[in-house]
Every structure is written in structure tokens, then in C-alpha cells.
């Protein structure tokens, strides 16, 4: 299934061109390949909304080469197989940029497909804008010139989390690493262990559990109690996070949760009071500054809700690409030099509401500011219709949050 938004734009362009009698170039096309149906659609739809917001902003500023950029939408149906099909479809439809974020497994598939396509089709390259796949290997062993990651990864999430909690004196010295048993959870566990000297804590126990299969977390809570942990650090998302938190508080444990995805919509509504005092390390908090509040209000005016979860990073990522496009105007025949755009993305610096962001040339991992927030009643922006919200504890600049380039990344650059 494919839905074209802004389908009027190309029609209008064609009409204009025919009346004026001037041959007009094909508009630049950006394809969102997300999970738009099925059980995991909720996150995919958020990525789509944010990408559309970003593209609309670029178009409001004149689009590309005087034409609005066209956003194409493809439903990958939740898995790498569907995504591989849709990558082919998108390229056949003329897309030069592919945007995707939900699930590292899908990102892994798309990045490989794009890499191979570009090798076989020099001159017709495609860029993959990864706005949510957080697996380390995407900017590690699997890194390549046409992949750009605009979201944080496990290392970038954990480091600010540890620093901010230590500053506030709520980190404690006994940390439990509880994660899901797949690439992301394993990355998180690695980052939690690696940051132990920085935070001055000991990892008292590490657990990897099945992903989204467990209803009853009480046996895991018993392990947390037995380990006598003060803080539970976890990369869990969705139900795995909610159920774990609820079971822990239900058992009367005081352990504080340090999370990566507590800001997923619905979490606070469902957890309620249980969530108070828990911490999240994320790339955006509307309360962080006046600029971020203004961005949040504008986003709400355009989309109907405040930007949450993965939306800000996606909007900022698209904005970064928009900035890069400004320095690479289309050729006379309307074609785009994708390699030049990629090089421009590497050098561009954008001022996001959270601070300056840029793209590191060595591994194409975005250098973005991070913020560590705590769930509290006195937060300005309430979430999920509850009296609770995320109160910023500390904002980190891109340089402070950054983690070093992975040695595994061997990027071949075009001449």
C-alpha cells in the first residue's frame, strides 16, 4: 500500500510547467518506509508524522530547486522482508532519500539494501536517513557513506544519564542492568557496564530477557530485590518497560529506573504514580529552553500534539538534510548529485531548539544534544493527559553527550 501525501504538488507543478511552456524537472522525492499497519504501527506513524513535519518546513521555505519536496509513504508491515520490497518500490518510484526509524532490524535491512543498490547504480545513489535505528553496528561494522543516523545510540543515551543522575545524587552505587535480549538490549548492557567507572557504580547484576513476550515480571523483580539494587538501568521499551516498572513498585521496591524510552506515549498514562521519580535520557524536552518550548508549540499547531518520543530527533534530522540541500542546488537538467548532498550533510551545522547539532563525517553518527529528565508533577508540559510530565534535570551539548567512533566502522568514500 502506498499513499502519496502532497500529491497535489506535482500535479500543480505539471500544470504550471505546461502553461508556462517550460520543461520542469521531477521534484525531489523522499520515501518514508515505516510500519504503518499492524501491532507496531503506533511508533511507525509517529516517525511518519515527524518526517512530514520536517519536509513541510523545508517546503514552506521554498522546497528544493524551487519545487516542493514530495513525501512518499510505504508500509513495511513491521519487518525487514516488507522493508526490502518497499525499498525497491521507493527507488523505482524515484525516491532519492529513504527515511526509517522503528526497529533496528528493519534499519539493518534497509542500510544494506541501499549500500548494495548504490554500488550497482553509480550516479543514481540513494541516501538512507536513519532516524530511529539505535543498534551500534549501524554506525559500526555496517556503516557506509550513504547511511546517516540522526538519533542517539546506546552509548549516547547512557553517558548523559549516568552523569546527570550522579550530579543530582540519585544514581546510587548498585546498578542493575535489565535489558531485552537482542542487539539493542545487548548494546545497552555494554554501555551500562562501560560507564560504571564514570558513574562510580558497580553493576550488581545483568539480565537479558525475551523481547515483548513476558507478561509477568515478578520473577525479575525478585532478582532486583535479591541484588539489592538502587538503580535499574534499562533500554526496555513499550510493555517490557511498563510491566517491569509496575511489578517493581507493586513489590514495594524503591529502586529508581533509568531508562531510554520512558517518554513513549501511553507509558505515563498507564504507569501513573508508579513512574514518578524515574529518569529518561532523550534528545528533546520541551521544558529545556524557550526555543524548545516554541518548537513544541509549533509542532503541536501543525500536527495536533506536542513532539514526543522519537519525533523531535526525526524532525531535526530532516531539517539537517534540508540545510545541506541548500548548498547543493539541482543541476540544469534538474538532477541531484546525491554524493554531493551526502558530503554537504557531513559539514552542515544546524541550530536545533536543543542546541547545535552536526553530523560526524567519520561514521555518520549525528552529534546531537541530549537531555536527562525526571518524571515529576511540577513539569511544565504534562503528558498523556496526566498531572505528570518530564522535568529536565540537565542538558548536555552534543560534544558532552558524544561517544567515540567505533573502530569497526571502515567507511569507503566516493572520490
Amino acid at each position: 500500500m502506498k499513499i502519496r501525501t502532497g500529491f497535489l504538488a506535482p500535479i500543480a507543478a505539471v500544470l504550471l510547467a505546461s502553461t508556462a511552456g517550460v520543461a520542469s524537472a521531477e521534484p525531489l522525492k523522499v520515501a518514508v518506509i515505516e510500519t504503518l499497519s499492524g501491532p507496531q504501527a503506533s511508533t511507525g506513524l509517529l516517525f511518519k508524522t515527524a518526517a512530514k513535519y520536517g519536509i513541510d518546513k523545508i517546503n514552506a521555505g521554498g522546497g528544493y530547486g524551487g519545487e516542493p519536496i514530495v513525501l512518499l509513504e510505504y508500509d513495511n508491515q513491521g519487518g525487514p522482508v516488507g522493508a526490502a520490497d518497499k525499498v525497491k518500490a521507493a527507488i523505482a518510484d524515484g525516491a532519492r532519500f529513504i527515511v526509517q526509524g522503528a526497529s533496528s532490524a528493519v534499519s539493518g535491512q534497509i542500510t544494506e539494501d541501499v549500500r548494495k543498490y548504490n554500488i550497482r547504480n553509480p550516479g543514481k545513489e540513494v541516501i538512507f536517513l536513519n532516524v530511529g535505528g539505535e543498534a551500534l553496528e549501524l554506525t559500526g561494522a555496517k556503516c557506509h557513506f550513504h547511511h546517516f543516523r540522526f538519533n542517539p545510540n546506546a552509548q549516547v543515551r547512557v553517558k548523559p544519564m549516568v552523569l546527570a543522575m550522579k550530579d543530582a545524587g540519585i544514581l546510587g552505587t548498585r546498578v542493575y542492568a535489565m535489558n531485552q535480549n537482542y542487539s539493542w538490549g545487548i548494546d545497552m548492557e555494554g554501555a551500562i557496564v562501560a560507564n560504571a567507572p564514570l558513574g562510580g557504580y558497580t553493576v550488581v547484576e545483568k539480565t537479558l530477557h525475551d523481547v515483548n513476550k513476558i507478561q509477568d515480571f515478578s520473577p525479575y523483580v525478585a532478582k532486583i530485590a535479591a541484588a539489592n539494587a538502587e538503580t535499574v538501568m534499562t533500554g526496555n521499551w513499550s510493555n517490557d518497560l511498563l510491566l517491569l516498572m509496575k511489578a517493581t513498585r507493586g513489590a514495594g521496591l524503591k529502586a529508581r529506573f533509568a531508562t531510554a524510552f520512558l517518554d513513549q506515549p501511553g507509558n505515563i498514562a498507564n504507569a501513573g504514580e508508579v513512574a514518578v521519580g524515574h529518569v529518561v535520557s532523550h534528545p528533546f524536552n520541551a521544558e529545556a529552553s524557550e526555543a524548545s518550548a516554541a518548537f513544541a508549540e509549533d509542532y503541536k499547531a501543525k500536527t495536533g500534539h506536542y513532539p514526543v518520543f522519537i519525533e523531535p530527533q526525526t524532525a531535526f534530522g530532516v531539517a539537517m538534510v534540508g540545510e545541506a540541500l541548500k548548498s547543493v542546488p539541482p543541476a540544469k537538467d534538474g538532477s541531484v548529485d546525491i554524493n554531493a548532498v551526502a558530503k554537504a550533510i557531513e559539514t552542515v551545522k544546524v541550530k536545533t531548539p536543543m542546541g547545535e547539532a552536526s553530523m560526524r563525517a567519520a561514521d555518520h553518527q549525528a552529534q546531537i544534544p541530549m537531555v536527562v529528565s525526571i518524571v515529576a508533577e511540577d513539569a511544565k508540559f504534562k503528558v498523556d493527559g496526566t498531572p505528570l510530565g518530564f522535568k529536565p534535570m540537565k542538558v548536555f551539548t552534543a560534544a558532552e553527550a558524544s561517544s567515540p567512533v567505533q573502530e569497526a566502522c571502515k567507511m569507503t568514500r566516493p572520490n
Binding site: 504501527a41 525478585a222 507493586g250 501513573g272
Partner: protein
Amino acid sequence: MEHLLVAILNGTIYGLLLFMVSAGLTLIFGMMGVLNFAHASFYMLGAYVAYALSGVLGFALAVIVSPLVVGAVGVVVERYFLRRVHRFGHAHELLLTFGLSFIIAELIKLFFGNFPVDYRVPADLSFSAFRIGGTDYPVYRLIMGAVALAMFGVIYALLTTTRVGIVVRSAIFRPRMAEALGHNVPLVFMGVFGVGAALAGLAGALAGAFYTTNPNMALELGVLVFVVVVIGGLGSLEGAMVASLLIGIVTSLAVGIDASFADLLGIIGLGDWARAVGGPLTLQVSSLAATIPFALMLLVLLVRPSGLFGDKS
């Protein structure tokens, strides 16, 4: 020792919850010979209906009314959908329930959104029953367990001691004979289907508040419920009870075991070799906990294809 006790208690309560959902499924299968793919959707429906009603009626009343609503939905499904396709055979019934599960899930998303809703255990009920192994034991867990046990007792007594039970059992065992003796078998089918759906709804109304009420809850529990029914034996209530408890307790105990196959091989001196090989040999049992029910199902299917208590072939 305390941890072992906690693990067994946790496993038992979780098993009882599984039983509440699978009881209806196994009864319906026993009666109609059809695996009802929409059964876990009734569980989800129960949670959402109770959530919607709890604002108006209060929690306790919502939990009582919700199963009745879901039961009514079940009756409608049987009377106006399943009965129509019944004469075309089981495949059609199966496909119908399969489609129905999608429709219910999409409707729920349409009305309640994509994300979890704030359906929670009321404050009056979220206190600790006792302390064990360094943690509080929520009283709500005990309530869920008690309701499941009461449910088992009532259904079992109903089926084995009352006249209604005799008619139902005969309708399940030899529907044509029962019909020839003047019993309204379609009515019995409709009743059992409705009761089965209501039981799942009750489980949903209770568990939705304790776990999470979200549009994926049917998927999350659905697979496990099928595993329970297969292990217990299709159509057997006692089987469903035993299988539920077995799965609950085994999973709960497995979480606490940090050993791997490599450690086991270490006993015969192959530990270092196993660790060098890596892969599945070094996986900890605890990380496989949620997979164990499926392994159990395979084992049961290999050794006793009709399930632990199954007698239907």
C-alpha cells in the same frame, strides 16, 4: 528458600490467570472442534470495556459488568456469524474467527488509540498482602488467583454435578444423539461460546488493570493461551488448569536460573569446550524463560500428541 517460594507463588498466580483465558478456549474447542482465534480478542475486549465502564460505574462494578458485555458479544458472534458458516466446515469457522480477531483489534485502536490506556488497579486495592523475600506481595495478585480458583471450582461443579452440565457434556460428546433426545444443541453451543467469551472478558478486566491494557494485549497472551490448550489437551478443563500452572511455575523458576548448557557440560569436563564453542551452549536459562512454554509444547506434541489430559483424537 524464600526466593523459591516467591517464584512458585508468582508462577502459580500467573498460571491461574492463563487458566482463566484458556478455560473458555478449551471448552469451545471441545464443543465445536474449532480453535477460536478471536478468543484472546475477547480477553482484550474485557479489559477495554472494563476500562471504559470504570469511569462511570467504578472499578468493582465495571469488572462485573464487563464480562457480561463480552459474553453478549460472544453470543452474537456465535449466533449470527459462526452458526452461518458452521455447515461449510471447520476451515471456514477458523478463518472467520481469525478475521474477527483483526477486526476487534482495529476497532479497539479506532476507539481507544494506539497506545496503552490508563486502566489501573484502584488505590484501595493496591496495597501489600504480606512481605516475602524482601519484597511486598501485592494483594491484587492474590485476588486474581482467588477469582481464577473460584471460577475453576464453579465451572467444574457445573459441568459435573448439575443437569445443565450433563446436557452440555453430552452435546459436546455426541451432539447428534443429544439433539435426537430433544435437547436444543445450537442453544447449548451458543451458551458455551458466550460463557467462554465472558470468562476471557473477566480475565481481561482483572488482568488489564494489573498488567497493561493496550491494543497488542490479545497478541501477547493469545499465543501462550494456545500453548496452554495444546499442552493440556484440546477440550480438557483439567488439562488447561494443569498446563497453565505448569507453564506459570516453570517460566517463573527458569528466570532465576543463571546457568547455561556450558555449566551442565562442565560436570563432565566439557565446560571449557562449550564456552569456546559459544552460541546456544552459553545462553543462560533465564534469558530463555519465555521460550520454555514452546519447548514444552513441542515435547508434549512429540510424546503425547493429544495433550496431557486430551482424549479426543
